[in-house]
Symmetry: C3
Subunit: 350 residues, 3 copies
């Protein structure tokens, strides 16, 4: 693996920043302010790291105009240094390149169309009637069932399983061991209490620019499709039930579970291990903190939470007991209120 | 993939409903009341959808006798329309058919027996001493270790891993990327604080008619076996620890974690992201709502919960602080009660 | 699979126990006190099982010196019988042996070095520049990307995915379908609200003697590496975000999610379905109970919890409503306190 190099001038141009300093300086990577050495560019994104600015060994720092006065080395000045960081990181990504073409060990079913510029790696198994677009990479061990469509510039990482009839648009990344299109959890209980399986006849539609983490599961719809809209970002180990809709540019952190027919709006930010009970809507722009139990519709944007705050176990035990006594506590307060009212009244009457 | 067609009379017979309307009408699918077109059958299962009944474009509706008066189109009348829906959906399931036989790329160890009507797909790896029954499908990328037994009419979806000595009965479906028989989490701490692995000598027994979702993990027993009884339905991303027993026809939603040696009864309904602390029993018929923290035995049927209700973050922060002040709150109430008692007593003495 | 046999004397020596009884007795397995038969050794680890001691059919029991008086059969006496159990279980582990060598169906990239005593099973795909050490086993369906290093005596179970540049030291076990080195969840929001991917340039370092469960996901670092220190034990379905550090000998139960840049200390014990909000430290020796919401640093060892205790749903509903009234409850108490103070004052004035 050779080393990648850019001049500071190249980088300024790539990220759209104003350069203050020597544009000929050679940069071979990006690092945090404290870890950077003389061949690294660094960035200042968060006020709490200003203290590292004076001592950094970086060749240059990406920062906002308001910090220019505080910086005595080369600078790449732009309004959003975090976006600048993202763009520089793209230049130095060391993810291995893949070679276009179909590996001899890959198996491809009848009537499937693989674009000439696509990569189908070793041990991939592709069913019938599958279409794979230009520049798309299918990594080793991926299994793609019949009639799946994958657009252009997608990356499907190793050991992913795509069930039949799943539709994936363009520039979608799906990380390793994720499953898309498995049966939704649909069972009808008969008179004997035995569960009767409800076949899941819908599919899954994943729109452009979606990224899906590792070991995610997205179930196919019961009748209609499960839909992940354009620009959605899903972290690892997320469960998406049948007929869920996730709106554009919503981001969801790891371990969150979304029960069937939940409709999550656009531009939501949902933390990890959140649970959605299903069959309701969540407003555009809702922000939900970690481990929140979402049991009903969220009708307007804002930040939402549930649970209690971590504390020493011994204290928690007492408070948890008191929680279960809250009915009694309220009754005692009512009684006190009455006593006082009556007591004063009695006094008054006297 | 050709289109499947049935007459309304065929469907009535298949689901055991009384037909009111033209039995010759051709039906090519099932859809919700609002999405159905003239070639679809639909169903009315939930009172809250009655409003869609008059406007539906469906060719016919499966409904309960009590709604017959409200319906002006063809009807399939039966006591449990949801079961009727399940059975019609089975007719229109478009999951691709598989061809019996062993794919040339599959690898099968010595002394393994694969039934003639079974399917072993591409890139399947099967160890030694494995037995696979009639009509069972092993999808691509599945790895089956030594001495696994799988009965008849099972479906093992792609990229599933079955460890050695796992026993799977008949009509069991296991969705993609699920792992059965991995080591239970057993470690003994030595005097130096270093963990010593406890080899897991038990196996996993999965009885008839079980369905297991995608990315589920079921650990093998430490000494005895982990057992999933007949008719159990597990959603995606569930964790089942070593020596857990799950009773007949219990259904568990996604993301739930069950620690070692928990014994869950029959006919339980457990929602998503529930946690079981392990080493206790849960009574038959228990119903547990989402994200509940089950830390002790449940000795009788009923509905159980824990946690708090979602609310705006700003309000929640205050309430969470008050929760930690509950000891203080109770002390203040006691003091008030004493004050009043003493106050009145004093007054009385006066 | 033949049966394994040891004499009681062999076992006493293997586990470092003092034998009381016939050392020539042949033992063919280990079982719990109640399940053991005359060819089994058993163990007494927990006071609550003493009641089974007199009735056990075991050939011998591993127990602590304090129980010798209560036992009338052969004994293996040692200070920590649970460690003894772990060591005997190692003797009777029936996990199938593997044969060293590279299976003909395995694919190995250029410049990769596989030790002669290593096993590379069927359908394994290994990239370029990979090194695999002595006695290490790579099970079927594993995909290993470029420049991964794996040390000696490791076991990588089926269908695991290792992304590029992951480093795994010695005696590391990674269970089936786990993913190591997937991209961390890093996105920068541009002015239009669209997420811009931040390439993840770090790697993952897994030190000696780590065990990782099934369907775990460990993300690669954003700039620096994600680190799992020596002797860490991770259960199934755990999510480890980018740049997390987990300290030596810490054990974590299933379903726990650790957000980016959390630093967990040494010798911690963390239960299942715990959530860490990220970007803070957890002290050495911290113990965290199941489903706890860890939203801030834990600065000293101890046991920590959050949440409420399970109760019948009907009761819980009332208490959850009262939780949201805690502000009002506190206000009412303040008012009562003032009333009484004023009331008495008034009386005093009178």
């Amino acid at each position: 693996m050779g080393e990648t190099h850019y001049t500071l001038a190249d980088i300024a141009e790539h990220i759209g920043a104003t350069l203050k300093g020597d544009g000929a300086k050679v940069i071979c990577g990006i690092a945090s302010l404290s870890a950077a050495t003389g061949q690294h560019v660094s960035f200042l994104n968060n006020t709490k790291y200003v203290k590292y600015l004076s001592a950094t060994h970086a060749a240059a720092v990406i920062l906002a105009p308001s910090y220019v006065e505080k910086c005595s080395i080369a600078m790449l000045v732009m309004d959003d240094p975090y976006v600048g960081y993202a763009k520089v990181a793209q230049l130095f990504d060391r993810a291995p390149a893949v070679i276009a073409g179909i590996h001899p060990s890959a198996m491809i079913g009848e009537a499937s169309q693989i674009a000439a510029s696509a990569t189908v790696a070793a041990n991939v198994v592709i069913g019938e009637g599958v279409r794979i677009g230009e520049q798309t990479q299918i990594h080793p061990g991926v299994v793609i069932a019949d009639n799946v469509t994958i657009g252009n510039h997608c990356i499907i990482f190793p050991n992913v399983t795509l069930y039949h009839d799943v539709n994936i648009a363009n520039r979608v990344h799906i990380h390793a061991n994720t499953v898309i299109g498995s049966d939704g959890f649909g069972n009808a209980r008969d008179k004997q209490g035995v569960w009767l399986k409800i076949p899941q006849l819908g599919a899954v539609d994943i729109h452009d620019d979606v990224e899906i983490g590792a070991s995610v599961t997205i179930d196919r719809g019961a009748l209609d499709d499960t839909v992940i809209a354009r620009g959605v970002k899903l972290d690892n180990q997320i469960q998406v039930g049948h007929n869920v809709h996730i709106g554009e540019n919503t981001a969801i952190a790891a371990g969150t579970g979304i029960a069937g027919s939940t409709r999550i709006g656009k531009n939501c930010m949902i933390s990890g291990l959140v649970g959605f009970a299903g069959h309701f809507d969540v407003a555009d722009g809702a922000v939900i903190t970690g481990m929140t139990k979402v049991t009903k519709a969220i009708t307007k944007p804002g930040i939402y939470s549930s649970g209690t705050v971590i504390e020493p176990h011994r204290d928690w035990l007492k408070h948890a007991v008191h929680f279960r006594q809250l009915g009694d506590i309220v009754t005692r307060i009512k009684k006190l209120e009455l006593s006082i009212k009556d007591g004063f009244k009695t006094e008054g009457v006297d």
